[in-house]
Symmetry: C2
Subunit: 107 residues, 2 copies
């Protein structure tokens, strides 16, 4: 992930319906597409009872453009119609961060 | 979750080692403890290859206090020594949000 002075995170929390036919393919397609957008930095995703996807963006404009991207709009509609029972989107400014990386043990 | 004018999110992304003995108990204990902290709003968590935990707080001071809480400090140390191969913490200001809730179908 690129080091940037200031950037943004979109936290997408969701619960899904029982029948999520077509969801996995669409999720993969959207991730590929997101990565091609201007201002995209990175994406992280995990799901158990709840799903959390966090995508990182250089500017608020990049987030807005991605939200309005035509194929993404179709995916959002399909998501509300068929796949998600609930979701919550939070657009956040990353104010501080730190990282830990375990030292590799010598072999 | 309470409706608030402005609040903060702590995004904790991580990968774990193979041996995570004691982790589940500690994670549960820390979640219980976090919920008792002043300024705590909510917490969401999911894990597959990567784990993402997002906790929500009323102020940056509440986040700082939780980071320095004594039992939590011990848990963080244990996490770096034994459980986590990597983690990344981002402290974010929630700037905008929206929510979707599926309409219940009539029975």
């Amino acid at each position: 992930m690129k080091a940037l002075k200031s950037y943004y995170a979109v936290i997408f929390s969701s619960t899904q319906n029982k029948n999520i036919e077509g969801y996995a393919e669409m999720a993969e397609k959207m991730e590929t597409l997101a990565k091609q957008q201007k201002g995209f930095i990175g994406i992280e995703s995990a799901r158990n009872e709840i799903g959390i996807t966090v995508s990182y963006w250089e500017t608020l404009e990049a987030i807005k453009n991605w939200k309005q991207q035509s194929e993404h709009l179709q995916a959002q509609l399909k998501g509300r119609q068929d796949w998600y029972s609930w979701y919550h989107v939070r657009i956040c400014k990353v104010e501080r961060e730190y990282e830990f990386l375990q030292q590799q043990e010598s072999v």
